[in-house]
Every structure is written in structure tokens, then in C-alpha cells.
């Protein structure tokens, strides 16, 4: 082992967040007397530049070789303090943090007790710091290339950005054509351009791009590996000769889209029972064909019902599907243009037209004669060849009935029914609404819990084409980072096997959730892939020979922490 530990301890005030409850000076005094501690200070904001400067100065002047910062959660500033140490040549894994904010000052009220607890936490962390070892920082090479799952707008836009940068892209599409759901539409808001004008150039660019390989009628059937080094198996089960290929890529972008809510789940609205009741998607088809007749008759009264299958706990979809207010404004307006004599009514609960040009678009729909009535329709039944919508006009405060020839249900979006399979394949968690879960709702909208796998479009949550394209470009950008850098950092606090102690029993291989350990075929002992290893420690506690050490969380370190607390 190297020279004696020379530990610097820094107690942060965090303004008043810690100092108001914990006597930070007392804790610093206490820390100064702990074994191995050479310097103990307290400061207002350790994470600030001067705060970090204190640490760096002490490392240089006092020859510190271990640092303990007692402040907030490591999830806040561990990288900050590790970075500060690294800048002056100290291995970042020789820095440890004691959480005396989230785990002390923020949850206790009694100053005396909180101070005693802070002291105990510091003592424990110093005991660990005493036994810390420097760890190697490693990098892994990245395979230049990406797989994009899904050939709709999101998938195509993402694929183009990655391909334009110069990397090969494999675009995997389940159906026999590109374009996804947008291809089923007639015109899009707010420009009202026909979708074919929107899609055609996109599809052509994708098909003609030298760097993009389009795989139609294909599905993801296997994913192995880790960020920078994925092995993706793609199969074509439906073709006459089933085939599968494997691609080595560095990043994966998931752009699998959504399913449309099945309106039969709202039986009170008569969908599936009356030919007069159709969904918005079916209306798109009819608008494209310019045929709105019901049973050969031109409709005199057309009604739209918003929020069908959205904002509704009865069907398990409490969320808003975001696009329906705009597409209903679009459809109702187009219906008015096609049927200038018809009464067109939209029954709504709220109108959410939030995008650029959207409010103006909604204004125009009403100016063109679409009547908006507030009140969600409760049920629909038949009257002769027409149907009757039964509800309440909540602004008038009275129950109403409206006879209509054509009723359009503004059905919402749902996570795809096969999302569970993809979730299992890629180990992607989902949010409570069923869509794939982003890493952080505000700051990491395209990242997932799996490094190297990114989300684009409606598979992450309902959104319109504008936001889909923006997110697809964001996903491409994030996916390109490892590809352009050529390497990704590998976590250093991983598990390591001592081969002389290993009996080759294979239990670590069985218990690891990430597939990191493997028995060496020649030597019969276990070796752990440090890139796959997440440092969870399951193998270390399982090993009957105690042959596995989890670096940065070794047995001697943890036991020393416990002993220090017991005093």
C-alpha cells in the first residue's frame, strides 16, 4: 500500500440549508480529531468555485491524498468534487461524500440531535476514506453505427440526422412501408398541407441515402451488449423465407410510435353499433377520398366529440393525448368546407391548442362556422337513421340532445400493445401511462435508463409532428455523441474477481442482472466485463469463496463505516 492517508474534511453550510440545523463548526472541530484527518474546514458553499478552490489548495499545500466533503447528496455534486480533485492530479475515486443535508439537516429539526448525527455520518465516511483506493478510469471503443427502430416520421428524421453526419444507420420497420401513422392522414395542422407533400421528400431522402439501410417487414428480436457495442438481431418473420441478421452498432433509437384508442371500449358512444359513429382516423380517410356520405346520404349535422379515451380514468388513460384538440379543429374546418350546408359542432371539455399558430388555427375554425359547445357527450343512441347525442351544455347549464348524421370520435393515443415485448428486449422501463420512460421529464427527454438507447416520438408520449421532429433530432444528437467521440467512459466502481480464490462455481454468473460475469472457458474462473458491470454488488455478496471485490465498496470499507457508527 502507498503512503499513509492524509484526509481533508470539508463541512458545507449550504447557505442555511445545513447550517441552520447542524452546528457545522462543531462538526468540523470533531472531524479534525478523527484518525487520518490532517485538515478540517467548514465553508458556506463547497460546490462554488472558491469552495472547490479550498480543496485544491489543501491538496497541494498539505499533501492531501483523500478528501471527504460533508454536504448534499452525491447525486448533486459527486462529479463536481471528483472533477475538482482530478484537476490537481488526485484520483477522483479518492473523494468521498457524507450526506448531511438530505439525510440529516433536511429531515431533522432538533439542532443538537442533528449535529450528533452529522458527526456520526462524517466519522463513518472518514473511516471509509481512510481505506479508499485509486481506481483506473477506463474507456470503451464505440462501433460507428446506429439502429433506428420504427420507420415513421420520428424514425426517419432521426435516421437522416445520424446518416448525414456520416454514420451507417439500419432503419427497422415492422410494416411494408415507411411513413408510419402520418401516412394514414389526409392533411396536417396548422398548415393544412397534404401529408403526401410532407412525407414524400422525407421517404425519398431516406430510401436514397447511401448511409441508410431500410429493412421493411422487420422486427427487433434480440439485443445484446452495452452502449457503444450493441449486437442487434433483426428478423423478418412474415416473409416467405424467414431470415434474420445481426448488426453491430453503437447507439439505438427507439421510434416505435403509438396505437389508437379502441373506441369500442366506450360502448355508450355507439361505435361499432351505428355506422354513423366513426373515429377521427376513419374520417381522415374519408376526407382524403372527399366522401362523407353516410348510407348514401349527405350529412346535415356533423358532431365531433373530444377526449375519447383520453383524460379518462374509466378506461385507464388519465393523460391528455395532446393532438386531438388541434386535429379536431382541423377536421371540423375541413368538413365545413366540404359540406357548407352542414351544422358542425364540437363537444369539448377544454380546448388545448398550444403550438405555434395553433390558437389562430382554432380561431379560424370557429370563424369558418364550427360551433364549439362545452360539455362532454354522455351517450349516443339511434333515432331512425340518425343518432342522438345526449349530454349537457355546461355553459348553459342544461341537458341537451343533438341529432346528427355523422359523429366523429376524437380518439387518443395509447402505448402500443406490443410495447411490453420491446420493453423486455431493451430493458426499457415504462411510465404509469404505458409509454417508454424518459430519464428525466425536463432535462433528459430522449435518454433512457439504458445507456445508448434513446427515444423519439410518440413511443415516449403523445405529441404532434412538430414536437416529434424536434425530439427525433434531439435523439439523433444524443445518439451521435458516443459515435462521434468514438469512446464511452466505463464506470470504475465495478466488481473484480480474485482468480486464485475463485472456485468456478458460476453463482455470480447466475445472479448478475446485467450478464457481466462469465466463466473463462480456458481457466474456469469468473471474469467480470467492466463495461456491463453496474457495481450493484450482488455477485460480491453471493460468492461463497469471497473471491469478488466490489471496488469502491469493499468489505473492509463498509465494515469500517459500520464500526465508526457504532462508537
Amino acid at each position: 500500500m502507498e503512503a499513509q492517508p492524509r484526509i481533508g474534511v470539508y463541512i458545507c453550510h449550504c447557505g442555511v440549508n445545513i447550517a441552520a440545523t447542524v452546528d457545522v463548526e462543531q462538526v468540523a472541530e470533531f472531524a479534525a480529531a478523527l484518525p487520518g484527518v490532517v485538515v478540517a474546514r467548514n465553508y458556506l458553499y463547497m460546490c462554488s468555485d472558491p469552495g472547490q478552490g479550498l480543496i485544491q489548495q489543501d491538496i497541494e499545500e498539505h499533501g492531501l491524498n483523500r478528501v471527504v466533503v460533508a454536504s448534499c447528496s452525491p447525486r448533486m455534486h459527486e462529479p463536481t468534487f471528483r472533477g475538482a480533485a482530478q484537476q490537481v492530479g488526485l484520483n477522483p475515486y479518492l473523494v468521498e461524500m457524507a450526506n448531511i443535508r438530505e439525510q440529516c439537516s433536511w429531515v431533522h429539526g432538533d439542532r443538537a440531535q442533528a449535529t450528533e448525527k452529522a458527526k456520526a455520518l462524517v466519522a463513518s465516511t472518514v473511516a471509509k476514506a481512510f481505506r479508499l483506493e485509486p481506481l483506473e478510469e477506463r474507456e470503451v471503443g464505440v462501433v460507428p453505427g446506429a439502429v433506428v427502430v420504427g420507420g415513421g416520421v420520428a424514425g426517419m428524421v432521426a435516421a437522416l440526422d445520424v446518416a448525414d453526419t456520416g454514420f451507417p444507420v439500419y432503419l427497422v420497420e415492422q410494416s411494408d412501408h415507411l411513413g408510419g401513422r402520418v401516412a394514414e392522414l389526409n392533411r396536417t395542422f396548422p398548415t393544412l398541407e397534404p401529408v403526401v407533400e410532407l412525407l414524400k421528400p422525407l421517404v425519398e431522402r431516406v430510401q436514397n441515402h447511401p448511409n441508410i439501410t431500410v429493412l421493411l417487414n422487420a422486427q427487433l428480436t434480440g439485443v445484446e451488449g452495452y452502449v457503444g457495442n450493441f449486437k442487434v438481431e433483426v428478423s423478418s418473420p412474415s416473409s416467405s423465407t424467414p431470415s434474420s441478421s445481426t448488426f453491430d452498432v453503437g447507439s439505438i433509437i427507439v421510434a416505435t410510435g403509438y396505437d389508437v384508442f379502441d373506441a369500442r371500449r366506450k360502448p355508450e358512444l355507439g361505435y361499432g353499433q351505428y355506422p354513423n359513429v366513426i373515429t377521427s382516423l376513419e374520417l381522415e380517410r374519408r376526407l382524403l377520398e372527399r366522401s362523407l356520405a353516410v348510407d348514401g346520404h349527405t350529412p346535415k349535422s356533423v358532431a365531433f366529440i373530444q377526449c375519447v379515451g383520453s383524460r379518462d380514468v374509466q378506461v385507464g388513460n388519465p393523460y391528455c393525448s395532446r393532438v386531438c384538440c388541434m386535429y379536431t379543429a382541423k377536421q371540423s374546418r375541413l368538413v365545413r368546407e366540404l359540406l357548407p350546408e352542414a351544422h358542425v359542432t364540437v363537444f369539448f371539455m377544454d380546448v388545448r391548442t398550444f403550438g405555434k399558430g395553433a390558437e389562430e388555427f382554432y380561431d379560424e375554425a370557429r370563424e369558418k362556422g364550427v360551433l364549439y359547445r362545452r360539455g362532454n357527450i354522455s351517450e349516443i343512441y339511434r333515432r331512425g337513421e340518425r343518432v342522438v347525442l345526449v349530454g349537457e351544455d355546461t355553459l348553459q347549464g342544461r341537458p341537451i340532445e343533438l341529432e346528427a348524421d355523422l359523429v366523429v370520435l376524437a380518439v387518443g393515443m395509447e402505448a402500443r400493445s406490443d410495447v411490453a415485448d420491446l420493453s423486455t428486449l431493451l430493458k426499457l422501463p415504462r411510465s404509469s401511462d404505458g409509454f417508454f420512460l424518459e430519464l428525466h421529464p425536463k432535462l433528459r427527454p430522449v435518454d433512457t435508463a439504458v445507456s445508448g438507447v434513446f427515444l423519439a416520438g410518440c413511443c415516449q408520449g403523445p405529441k404532434d409532428i412538430t414536437d416529434t421532429v424536434a425530439q427525433a433530432k434531439a435523439a439523433a444528437s444524443s445518439a451521435l455523441i458516443p459515435l462521434i467521440r468514438g469512446t464511452v467512459p466505463a464506470e470504475s466502481a465495478t466488481a473484480v474477481v480474485e482468480p486464485e480464490l475463485c472456485a468456478g462455481c458460476g453463482m455470480c454468473v447466475e445472479v448478475c442482472p446485467f450478464g457481466a460475469p462469465a466463466l473463462d472457458p480456458l481457466w474456469g474462473v469468473s471474469r467480470i466485463n467492466y463495461v456491463l458491470c453496474k457495481g450493484c454488488g450482488t455477485c460480491a455478496v453471493t460468492c461463497p469463496s469471497k473471491a469478488i471485490r466490489l471496488q469502491h465498496f469493499t468489505a473492509s470499507q463498509i465494515l469500517a463505516q459500520i464500526d465508526a457508527l457504532a462508537v
Binding site: 360502448p267 355508450e268 380514468v313 374509466q314 360539455g375 349530454g391 347549464g397 341537451i400
Partner: protein
Amino acid sequence: MALKTEPMVEQLELMGCIQCGKCTGGCPVARKTTLNIRSLIYNMLVEPELDVNAHPELWDCTCCFTCVERCPKDVRPAELVIGLRGQLVESGHIPDTIGAALTGIFRQGNPTGIAREDRMGWANGTQIKAAQEGCEVLLHVCCTPAYDPRVQVVPRALVKAFTAAGLDFGTLGTDESCCGNEVRRMGESGLFEMLVEENGELIRSVGAGRLVTVSPHCFNTFKNEYSLSGGAGEQGSGRAGEQGGRGAMEVLHYTQLMAELVEQGRLKFSNEVKKTVTYHDPCFLGKQNHIFDEPRAVLKAIPGLKLVEMDRNRERSLCCEGGGGRMWAEGTNLQERLAFQRVREAAETGAEVLAVACPFCLLTLEDAVKVQGLDEKLRVMDIMELVDLAL
């Protein structure tokens, strides 16, 4: 009487309401009375006080629970009506007829107020096993089938069918009391809690594996508000009930048991019943508990019977206006009765028989047929009356 709105808003969690209007929109009586449940909720939210006495239309609600079924935010609007009725009950401001029904239930265990000793009159002398001696199936007769001469044929037909199928069944005899479903909905929560406790204890002591009811109302409360099925009652009466010590009972409506017996071949229909029949889904069986198929399965199993559907069937069945205490309260609009519209809809299908599975539907729809002079065209019959013809 000015009620401070805040406590009830909090207790019933009315803040979830987004005023979408599906409740009032689907309310069957909203069209013919001033009852506007959405507006009531809104006033509870924005006003510090509500004058409960200024709303006689509160007694129009049939507790069909369409509003509860439709509400996208799970606010359960009908519980506000029940809560406000509770305030009226406490202050004594209730229609006399409702008061009489509640008194009858309290004193004689049934809303007619007729003596408890006469509760087994419907059996016409037939010896029926006392469930207290132990049985597999406990048949809960219900007050209206027990005392009302028109409805008494239903439990008699059930006894005949159960006997034919070889079931080990019994009733609580004169110990049977009102289940309390309507009591809670009329706002008398104190009496309801008492009934849940006493009835619950009595029923559990029998140790039967299954509880079968004649009325969907009894079925609804035993299944969802008592804790006979092993779990705590779902709909808040405030009571979790006793922890079922003897193990869970299966609570069924008679149509479910009949459908099972037919499917298992334990009940054979030897006679043809050549009639065109349309079935009216009772609110407490269909809308609230989603039992639509079993009654139809029983009807379809009857030889010669042709089943036709009304347009407003299943989830959209039109309430007969018998629930929520309406059997004992006329309501504010006597001219238009929903039952009139319903029997017209039934007649329009061309059916000769309007089949029902609820004693309240039987009485209200039959009255409507007579008042509108449709008795030559349409006959209202309980499913068991048809089964009786087929057995």
C-alpha cells in the same frame, strides 16, 4: 338549512371535478327535473354554504349511478346526492313517504312496515329450509318480493328451480331484514350501518359458501358495501365491516346462478315458451355491476324464446326510476315517467314480453304498461316467470 360546503367537498374529494358535464349529460332524470348534479358539485366548490332545503330535486335521483360510471375523473357525483340527503335526513326534512319506509325498515325490517312475522307469506306454505341450520346457498329474498303480491311469484319460481336443480339452499325466514341498499341511498347512514352490522353477522353465521339475491339492489350492497366477499366494502359507507372470520362468501344475483345451472345442465327446460322477448338491463345489475350476459344466457336457453334487443340496452339502459328510494318518493315531475318511455321502446322492438330481473323494474314498468294502455301489446315478466313456464 345552510350546509358548510368545505367539509363535504373534502370528504367526497369533489375537487377532482373538471365540470365536463358527462354526469348531468347522462343523468336520466336531469331532463325532466331541475336536478343538475354537475351544477351542484360546482356550487359546492365555489360557494361557502349551500341551502340544502332549496333543492327538493335531490329526491329525484334514482341512484342509477350513470354519473359515477361516466365520470372521467372518478369523482362519483351520486355520492354528493347521497351526502346531501344525509343532511336532510338528519334535520328531518324528508318526504313523508320516505320517512315511513325508513321507519318500517327500522321497526319491521322492511319498508312496507308490515309485520316481520308475515315475511314468509310468499312461500304459500311450502317448507323452506331455515338457513340457520346450515346450507350451501343462502337465498336472500328481499323485502319487495317477500311482501308484494305481484312480485311473490319470483322467489316461488326460484325455489322451484333450485329444488329441481338439487341445490342445498335455505333462507333466513323471518330473521331476514332489509339489506339497506336503498336506506344508504336515501341518506340514512346510521340505519344503514346498523343493518350492515346486524345482517352481516347473521349472514356470516350461516356459513354458506354462496349468497344469492332476488333483487339486484340487495346484490349490489352485499357485494360492494358489506364485507362478505372477504375484502373491505368498496363504496364508502364509512364502514369497513367486520373482518370475515369464516372465509369469503361468493355473492351472486340469481341470474348468475341460474346461468350457471343451465350451463352445467343441472336445470332442464322441457316446455317451449314461444314468445318474442326483450330484456331490460336493471341499473343495479347492468350499469353498476356489469352483469349483462348471464340474464341473456338464461333467456336464450329457454326453448322457443326469441330474444330481441332494444337500442338502448346494456350500458345505456334507461333507468326505470325505481331506485334511490324512488319506490317511496314520487319526485318532482309526475307527468313524465322514464318507465313510460322505456315500455314504448320495448313495444317498438315488436316484443310481446318485456323481461326484467329486478322487483322494482317489474313494478314500475308494469305500471307504465297499464297507464299507457299497452297491456294488450306488451307483458312485463320477471325472467323467473319465464323460466317457471319452461320448467
